[in-house]
């Protein structure tokens, strides 16, 4: 039972990581890419670490995997949020299909959605 749960968690994590990396390669602008990559990769890597923990139990391997999963769950959203804010402030253009840019409007600046050519 536990073994089947571990395999399920591990395979779900691997599929999530693969699809997130595919989104990172294929989406049109940086904010879409960041959305696909960070969320999918966070969940996927946490699933993989949980699978490793369930497979080995409370050994040195399992506890370290659990600590690593907690660390990744905390830090990857923080770093992606900081990068998104930094790239908006640095003036990286949004994709031309974007509808709203509330961040720049609230700061009183001109919206930086890319012009339609």
């Amino acid at each position: 039972m536990i073994s089947a749960l571990a395999l399920l968690s591990l395979w779900l994590g691997v599929i999530f990581v693969l699809l997130g990396a595919l989104g990172l390669a294929r989406f049109p602008d940086i904010y879409n890419r960041m959305q696909a990559a960070t969320k999918c990769v966070t969940l996927g890597v946490c699933g993989i670490m949980l699978g490793v923990f369930l497979k080995t139990g409370f050994s040195a391997l399992g506890i370290k995997a659990l600590i690593c999963a907690l660390f990744i769950l905390i830090t990857v959203p923080v770093s992606s949020h900081a990068l998104a804010r930094g790239s908006l402030i640095a003036g990286v253009k949004l994709w031309k299909g974007t509808i709203k840019d509330k961040f720049t409007e609230d700061r009183g600046g001109k919206s930086i959605i890319e012009e339609e050519k």
Binding site: V17, A21, L24, R33, V52, T56, C68, I72, A82, G86
Partner: protein, 83 residues
Amino acid sequence: MIPIIILIPAAFFCLYRALQGPSIADRAIAVDMMGVVFSAITALVALQYQLSYLLDLSIALAVIAFIGALALAKYLEGRSLDD
């Protein structure tokens, strides 16, 4: 063994974006994600061969990716590192 082989294309997608990406933030997020994917690959190798010390390398990779991404984000906002 098969999950490790499936994760290698994910790392190559991140490498493609890091080489191709139009802006600095693209490259930064791609390198960040590549570090996290390598951390997952290391954990799977540790599970395959039952080597618990490889998980330390996994945690170290995650820490390095986090600190690098934060430093680049601060540079993009236009502040210095001791601000």
